[in-house]
């Protein structure tokens, strides 16, 4: 217990005595943590958005108007039994009009009312466990006959449609964005690690004589190392706290007002602020402490 107190007081003594390098290290950590703090939510948001789009992709099975309720019910059961299908929803002609009216407004909505008959077909909307299985499922519903024309499993099926083309486009775009962001994040992480390591090394290099003296009066490596690690923890914590404060300020003054006005920005704040803060503080502290501990190694070989 006395040792812990001693190590902590040693760390604070070192911080006081070498204020300039300590502040340099803190500023380095603030900058890199800030960049990460912006990048991580953006990455997370784009990933979530892509997942969202993928989740919406399903299959629509359109039916002929002359299908009887019994036939429809039988087909519903048949569709639900197909592998990879997680949900089957029947949309009647009337419901289809309702959905359409919900989507369009003004004159167009009125013109739907003016229609004498309902031109929309009834359909089944199928949910799949994974968009990758679109092909399998759609070919299970509608096999291709020998002459090339589709041959559905039931005579009441008019057409099987999926949003595959849209989906693959979206997946491709979000995939590219994701790769770019990940590469950026990794580069930033490597650069920040090197920068922090270098700053720590400078501050330790300035005290290498001190370390040498400690070795010569019989201090064990860990006895010398602990104060340096605690110092690293303090520097990392301080840097992370400042960075989080700036991020919070940015969130309150820029992102929050924007998200009230624009749905797009709102959808991007998919990551809770608290988990982000925890991740940032933990990683900044860990990097700083490990950096101190590892850099010290080369000075401990006396």
């Amino acid at each position: 217990m006395g040792r812990v107190v001693f190590f902590i007081s040693e760390a604070f003594r070192a911080l006081r005595r070498s204020a300039a390098p300590s502040i340099a290290a803190i500023v380095t950590i603030v900058v890199t943590t800030l960049l990460l703090g912006v990048l991580v939510p953006v990455l997370k948001a784009s990933e979530d958005k892509a997942q969202d789009v993928r989740d919406q992709i399903g299959l629509n099975v359109y039916l002929y108007d002359d299908a009887t309720p019994a036939e429809i019910e039988a087909l519903g059961k048949e569709l639900a039994a197909i592998q990879h299908v997680t949900g089957v929803e029947f949309i009647s002609k009337g419901e289809a009009v309702g959905i359409l009216q919900g989507r369009v407004k003004g004159d167009l909505a009125q013109s739907i009312d003016e229609l004498k008959s309902n031109p929309l077909p009834a359909s089944f909307a199928l949910d799949l466990d994974d968009p990758a299985n679109l092909n399998t499922v759609s070919s299970a519903i509608s096999t291709v006959g020998p002459s090339g024309e589709p041959k559905p499993i039931s005579p009441i099926i008019e057409e099987v449609k999926d949003a595959r083309q849209d989906a693959s486009k979206i997946t491709r775009v979000t995939g590219a964005v994701k790769i770019v962001l990940i590469v950026l994040a990794v580069l930033l992480l490597v650069a920040s690690l090197m920068l922090v390591g270098n700053t720590i090394r400078l501050s330790i290099y300035a005290r290498r004589r001190e370390v040498e003296v400690m070795r010569l009066v019989g201090a064990t490596n860990w006895f010398i190392r602990w104060p340096f690690i605690i110092e690293g923890v303090i520097v990392g914590l301080a840097g992370a706290v400042v960075a989080v404060a700036i991020l919070w300020l940015g969130k309150v003054t820029v992102v929050d007002p924007l998200s009230q006005n624009f749905e797009l920005v709102d959808s991007f704040s998919t990551m809770g602020f608290l988990p982000l803060v925890i991740i940032l503080v933990a990683s900044a502290t860990a990097v700083s402490a490990l950096g101190s501990g590892i850099t010290l190694r080369r000075f401990l070989r006396v």
């Binding site: 001190e210 003296v213 400690m214 010569l216 009066v217 019989g218 064990t220």
Partner: protein
Amino acid sequence: MALTRSRSSRGRPRGHDDAAARYTQRTGKPPPKPPIVALKDATVVYPGGHVALERISLDVQRGEFAFVVGPTGCGKSTLIKMLIREVEPASGLVEIAGYDINDLAMSKVPLLRRRIGTVFQDFKLLPNRTVYDNVAYALQVIGESRSEIRRKTPEIIRLVGLQSKIHNYPDQLSGGEQQRVSIARAFVNHPPLLLADEPTGNLDPETSIGIMQLLYRINRTGTTVLVVTHDRDMVDKMQRRVIGLEEGRLVRDEHRGSYHDESTREFAARLKAQMDAEESRPGD
């Protein structure tokens, strides 16, 4: 006195076990303690091929006060470094209190250094610590309790005569005072062996006598003291064992003067008298 508390077979006394058993069988008495320092053909070669020490063999008994003399570059400092395992010999045996220190695991080296007080020529004080903290560090390193540190530290600082500068930083002290701090730090654990590398190297004769007096006082508590110096005058006056090195070879090992019990005060008076006599001699 065991120098390290090694539990493994590493660092155990070598060759002494059998001899000790035979001695006890023959005489019925416990065997005599091995010499505090025993070198057998110790050779140190620095990277680049420079031979700093060549086949040095010597013993230093417990309680001895010995000088190591020789011109610059003769290997005196290397000898000290070898004894605290700052450098390792290329060949030969280095034993401290019967333990082969080069057989010691790297992690045990701090334990060795805690049992040897070392006074460095350049003091090697921690620059941003006060006199008190510098001395206390040696106690903190061995895990001494805070109450013990608070008791022992002022005591040893008083012994070296620096109680009025206890809260000063090293750069506020004179060379002699810094050397005293260095000695206080080396001795605060009461190690069985104290090594001093040119303790009077940068000091005026008056101050040198004070430092020597201090080392002598420490020697009288039973600590073996090994002083490396090029100050032949001082060595002649002290009349103690002298080990001479030249170009890394042992060229002289003689016990000068008698080992009669001299009080610290008598010792200082004798040194001073000799120095005054020299000063009054014209043309010297």
